[in-house]
């Protein structure tokens, strides 16, 4: 199957990177998470309930909705924090990209390790700017808020095309489709990676990292 790829671009101030990334990643994950599955006899299952919460940004005039799961929030924050640090350490240019990839696992027989087949990739390109004075920062707060609003609308637009989604798995297959490690919600299997672009515009692949546990590499 073809992997759907979407690119979102934002231009932010250094201190806004974290919240902007959280806003977009959480918005995507909100749509790509379900309640926990409880399999019953005869192959049927029931689905738990997903709660939501409003988050206000401190450095951006923006609020977003995320799934009520502290565990998931911690994982995403850790990833975004690493990305932010890498972006900060890269030098004054501050260009990078964080990717959220949804994939399915396909079990292979030994000695081959499991395949990860992505079915949807969201890439968020970030451009960090430095602002000279407080007035510009204030304008930036509002502008970035508006831009993020547009990005949320883009995300919703893509998701509501209702294109390919993995089939609902049987109990034995559920870990190939969903991340069942969290206690309260069940997102599709995902991984977050990032790349920092150096001043020449080429991506520095040494910074590719897997931040979330995924396949068992034998």
């Amino acid at each position: 199957m073809n992997c759907r790829s979407e690119v979102l671009e934002v231009t932010v101030e250094a201190r806004q990177v974290e919240e902007a990334m959280l806003a977009l990643l959480h918005t995507i994950l909100l749509h790509r998470s379900t309640g926990k599955f409880h399999y019953k006899k005869e192959g049927t299952y029931s689905i738990g309930t997903v709660g939501t919460m409003d988050i206000d940004c401190d450095f951006i005039d923006f609020s977003f909705v995320r799934v009520s799961s502290e565990e998931l929030d911690r994982v995403i924050r850790r990833a975004v924090s690493e990305f932010k640090d890498a972006l900060g350490n890269s030098g004054s240019d501050g260009m990078g990209q964080i990717s959220l990839e949804f994939y399915q696992k396909k079990k292979s027989r030994w000695p081959f390790s499991d395949e990860c087949i992505p079915w949807e990739v969201w890439s968020i390109k970030v451009n960090v700017v430095n602002l000279a004075n407080e007035q510009e920062r204030q304008i930036c707060r509002e502008k970035v808020g508006e831009k993020l609003g547009e990005k949320v609308i883009n995300v919703v637009e893509v998701i509501n095309r209702h294109e390919y989604l993995p089939k609902m798995p049987t109990q034995s297959e559920v870990d190939n489709v969903f991340d069942t490690s969290l206690k309260d919600v069940q997102p599709y299997l995902y991984k977050i990676t990032y790349q920092i672009t150096d001043s020449l515009g080429t991506s520095v692949s040494t910074t590719m990292r897997r931040l979330i546990k995924d396949t068992l590499a034998l």
Binding site: T52, D56, S63, S68, I153, V156, N160, H162, K183
Partner: protein, 435 residues
């Protein structure tokens, strides 16, 4: 064709659409209450959470939605609309957005009702949650309180977008195909925020819904979405936002009885006083009018420091004023009192009284309250009035520590009781003295 759909599927589909419509209304109204919404995830399914989402059901909102639907379902040509409008304390109002749940003829015969349609409706609700925070009305609704409130209105029938002004934008939340049609959810929002006064001279709200009441298909009931404590008197000049939606529940419950169907929400629609508070419906209006009206009787020099702002909004003393000296005046020992401060003064002022009184560089303007004599006593009426006018806020009333202090209070209760029991004779003597 409905004949392609099994009876069970048809029944399920109708139920899904009905509950989807009700949940849509809940999400939209709750997003305009002005508070942050937070619901918990639950891994064990309760069976009562539609679309596997924890969306609270505010009873009044459900009631209004059901009333608007009147047993029908959104269908082709029959849309369910939620209109969000803003109403200022002066009575001017403006439509901000209209959310439309519509159905068109495009059918998807092959789709599985109980499974795919249900899941897609769930995703659509999540999208609605996200989009309701993005339209301009969200920010306005978070700031509602003193100057304006946000109202909602549910109607069923034809979509009306005339009230949104020129150049309104539309954002599509999403679509879900079903065997009987495609469900679409969208929002049309105003971009031109220049104010249009819709106030009718006689009744406050009569003008707002005059046009709509002519239509047979629409139901005109209007309710405010802001919780009771946000409008009118506030403590410490801070808008109190209830931590959970129960206050909104209670508020909306209280409002319901005065509103009969067909009555176009009068002042009660905006009233926050349902919960037994003594704030009158027109309190926000009064407190704004009082800015210009209230000047002490027989006062020769109306001083800016003694406006209603000081009376109604305790922290108004910190608002910018023409004369710096007057602002400092209430907090500072007046110059004509003796060097030795009274114990009362010392306890009231946050600044130590020892340092006060040496403020000779300030120009003191005398405040002459009505009917007072110029006594030249240490504590003349004017001084007394100034000093006791802005008392520091009671610690127990301060919101953020009230929860802590409750726990502390409970903990210290046994010790306090023991102490009181020990001093029981003292208390008895005191009581006797009073009698």
């Amino acid at each position: 064709m409905d004949s392609d759909l099994s009876p069970q599927d048809k029944k399920d589909l109708d139920k899904f659409i009905k509950f989807f419509a009700l949940k849509t209304v809940q999400v939209i109204v709750q997003a305009r209450l002005g508070e942050k919404i937070c619901t918990r995830s639950s891994s064990s399914p309760t069976g009562s959470d539609w679309f596997n989402l924890a969306i609270k059901d505010i009873p009044e909102v459900t009631h209004e939605a059901k009333k608007a639907l009147a047993g029908q379902l959104p269908g082709i040509g029959r849309s369910m609309c939620v209109e969000i409008s803003l109403k200022t304390s002066e009575g001017d109002s403006m439509e901000l957005e209209t959310w439309c749940l519509e159905m068109n003829e495009k059918c998807d015969k092959d789709i599985k009702v109980s499974y795919t349609v249900y899941n897609r409706l769930s995703v659509l609700l999540k999208s609605l949650l996200a989009i309701t925070r993005v339209t301009p009305a969200y920010k306005l609704s978070r700031k509602q309180g003193h100057d304006y409130v946000i109202l909602y209105r549910i109607y069923f029938g034809e979509v009306q977008l005339n009230g949104l002004g020129e150049g309104f934008q539309t954002v599509r939340v999403g679509v879900v195909g079903t065997p009987v049609g495609t469900v679409t959810l969208s929002c049309a929002y105003r971009t031109n925020l220049a104010f249009m006064s819709n106030r009718a001279p006689d009744e406050d709200d009569g003008g707002l819904f005059a046009g709509v009441q002519d239509s047979q298909e629409v139901c005109t009931t209007s309710f405010s979405t802001s919780p009771p404590s946000q409008v009118g008197r506030t403590e410490g000049g801070v808008v109190l936002v209830p931590a959970h939606p129960h206050a909104a529940d209670a508020h909306l419950t209280a409002e319901h009885p005065p509103n009969t169907p067909g009555s176009s929400g009068d002042d009660d629609g905006m009233s926050q006083s349902g919960e037994g508070r003594s704030v009158s419906p027109s309190d926000p209006v009064e407190s704004l009018n009082a800015f210009t009206r209230k000047i002490g009787a027989f006062v020769n020099k109306p001083t800016t420091q003694m406006t209603a702002a000081n009376l109604d909004l305790p922290f108004a003393a910190f608002a910018p004023r023409g004369l710096d000296s007057e602002e400092n005046d209430p907090m500072v020992q007046p110059p004509d009192s003796p060097a030795c401060p009274s114990p009362l003064q010392a306890s009231l002022h946050s600044q130590g009284s020892e340092s006060s009184g040496q403020q000779d560089d300030f120009v003191m303007v005398d405040f002459r309250p009505a009917f007072s004599k110029d006594d030249l006593l240490p504590m003349d009426l004017g001084t007394f009035y100034r000093e006791f006018q802005n008392p520091p806020q009671l610690a127990s009333l301060s919101l953020h520590i009230s929860s802590q202090s409750m726990a502390d209070d409970l903990d210290s209760l046994p010790e306090k009781l023991a102490l009181y029991e020990k001093n029981i004779d003292e208390f008895d003597a005191f009581v006797d003295m009073l009698q």
